[in-house]
Amino acid sequence: MSVETLPFSKALNAGMRRAMQDDDHVLLMGEDIGRLGGVFRVTEGLQAEFGDRRVLDTPLAESGIVGTAIGLAMAGFRPVCEIQFDGFVFPAFDQITTQLAKLTNRHDGRMSFPVVIRIPYGGHIGAVEHHQESPEAYFTHTPGLRVVSPSTPNDAYWMIQDAIASPDPVIFLEPKSRYWPKGEVDLAARALPLHASRVVRRGTDVTLVGHGAMVTVLLQAAALAESEGISCEVVDLRSLSPVDYGPIVESVRRTGRMVYGQEAPGFTSLGSEIAATVTEQAFFSLEAPVLRVSGFDVPFPAAKLEGSYLPDADRILEAVDRALAY
């Protein structure tokens, strides 16, 4: 039987295990990912299985992790780096932005840098500062990177394998509040391609778009809206850079209205990009401007306030109502 019910974190674990079995130059590196299996236990058991030359508990230095991963890629490896939490990726930002993202281009394509950087991201876990952020905009703005985020265990299982197989650097954003819920994983049938977006609910009045943990919120909002007689289509972005605009624009041409949901602050965000581009591509179909529901443009607040900060189904619905009122 090739379909298993797994939590998202175990699906990722299974995906990495399979990639490591298939290619012995795939290696994992990061803080506490070996003996401990990572603070979210995503790499649990992999060091025991593959040894400490393939699953590295590195020194505590993120620039060092990404910088040496680059060197390992030059030496023919496919490193998968774990950044412990979203807020700790910034010490590595220089190596990601000025090196990893640009090195293929700098080499005129003669070397490739198949490095994956896994980052648990987003809120909903009640944690202290730097542990609940959504930094995707910094990466999607950077040419040379690919950025993806699965929202289901099945996508987690397949997308991590596709990311590892990609010859390009991939920022792999894991919605940490989704680590625990379970879902069906089809171990035999590949999911959609890495850079495809997917309509996860059909609807006719408003198109809702988002990624990661936000997809769950959008589906909740769509269910609530239905009870009020409003039909929402929901698109899971899956790929944040490049964005697969096909399904989104097709949907908006039908619905004429779109709401984009994201946990990140809204200013100069991925939501800004998608709103601007969808507006360009579906200008004459739009009955209302594309509305964005985002984290506020303030630092992610103390845990007790995250409920007010993070867009929930009610806030999505408020925007849906506004869009419909145009």
Binding site: D32, D57, L60, A127, F296, A302
Partner: protein, 378 residues
């Protein structure tokens, strides 16, 4: 590893594990500083350690009861923290990492302010500019970042002539705390480069508690971390961080020298995180009970108690301290239970000092939105 360090000839240690006075050769030069301590001060050291351990245990329990988001215990590191913090003068500035509960409370920070941070009510907790907090800066969670802030502060002291003037009431220094894991961060290196370049009045105080979550210090360095300082020209010393007297003395001397214009110094305090990394951690996954037992025998509180007993302290003293500590911890529990969540509006209040149209607009939006649910949100 631990055995090797135990017998490191360069280690400054004053008290044997059982509390008998047994100075290592390196400790000789520090003895006068220790002999100068009045009994009351020795008792204070002990009281500090016991009090904050009780608070720390209370906080750990509060987290287990769901009252806190997280708690990183200081359990086991009391001597390094008491010794170093008690060595600082009032005008000195202290830059902690996130496990310096002992340091903070000694300097006057209300433990409830640390609790507020770990409960998820604030990202800060106390006001470093309020004199009652003894120039103790707030916690920094991004490892190593605070070392640069401390260095910058020390540069400011140099530029303002607040160091090396010869006036002991005026001259000041900074002390910055960081861990063995954090020592690998580039920022710590840059802090040492700037500190030596600007001759800051600064002590780099590394608590080597042997672990960075699950990663042993041997992953960060194959040689004692104390050696790093010499590469920048910084006098550096390794101390038994479970010996409160030795920790006090080495820090006192280093701060005195720094204050008098001799530039930055580094201290590696060998200690042990006797508890979990944080309440989310399970240390049995990565370390042995043998190792834990080894360190249990080197408990800093037991050691100091042995020393005081040897000097004839009365049983009633220890009972008093225990009782006061229990009351202190109890008070924290009571006050924790009384804490209330901040208003959502507060998240907008201090992002900028001056008006900011986007933030103002979102603040208003949220207020209106919340108001629209008056009478209950779905």
């Amino acid at each position: 590893m631990t055995d090797e360090a135990e017998h490191d000839p360069a280690l400054v240690r004053v008290l044997a594990a059982d509390g008998t006075l047994d100075p290592s050769p390196e400790a000789e030069r520090y003895l006068p500083l220790i002999e100068a301590l009045p009994d009351s001060e020795l008792e204070t050291f002990y009281r500090d350690m016991v009090t904050v351990r009780a608070f720390d245990r209370q906080a750990t329990n509060l987290q287990r009861q769901g009252q806190l988001a997280l708690w990183p215990p200081s359990f086991g590191q009391e001597a390094a923290q008491v010794g170093s913090a008690r060595a600082a003068r009032p005008q000195d500035h202290l830059f902690p990492s996130y496990r310096e509960h002992v340091v903070c409370t000694i300097r006057g920070v209300d433990p409830i302010d640390i609790i507020r941070l770990m409960r998820g009510l604030t990202h800060g907790g106390w006001d470093p500019t309020d004199p009652k907090n003894g120039n103790t800066h707030i916690y920094t969670l991004v490892l190593g970042s605070q070392t640069l802030h401390a260095t910058g502060y020390g540069m400011g002291m140099v530029f303002d002539g607040r160091t090396g003037s010869g006036d002991p009431e005026r001259d000041a220094a900074v002390i910055v705390y960081y861990g063995d894991g954090a020592s690998s961060q580039g920022d710590v290196h840059e802090a040492m480069v700037f500190a030596t370049s600007y001759n800051t009045p600064q002590v780099f105080f590394l608590q080597n508690n042997h672990w960075a979550i699950s990663v042993p210090v041997s992953t960060q360095s194959k040689v004692p971390l104390v050696r790093r300082g010499a590469g920048y020209g910084m006098p550096s010393v390794r101390v038994d961080g479970n010996d409160v007297l030795a920790s006090y003395a080495v820090t006192k001397l280093a701060l005195d020298e720094a204050r008098s214009g001799e530039g930055p110094r580094a201290i590696e305090a060998l200690t042990y995180r006797m508890g979990a990394h944080t309440t989310s951690d399970d240390p049995t996954k990565y370390r042995t009970s043998d190792e834990e037992a080894f360190w249990a025998q080197r408990d800093p509180i037991a050691r100091m108690r042995g020393y005081l007993e040897g000097r004839g302290a009365a049983a009633s003293f220890f009972d008093d301290v225990d009782a006061a500590a229990a009351a202190y911890a109890d008070d924290v529990r009571v006050r924790t239970n009384a804490l209330v969540a901040p208003e959502p509006d507060s998240m907008f209040a201090h992002v900028y000092n001056e008006q900011h149209p986007l933030v103002d607009q979102q603040r208003q939006w949220l207020a209106d939105y919340e108001a629209s649910f008056e009478g209950g949100r779905a």
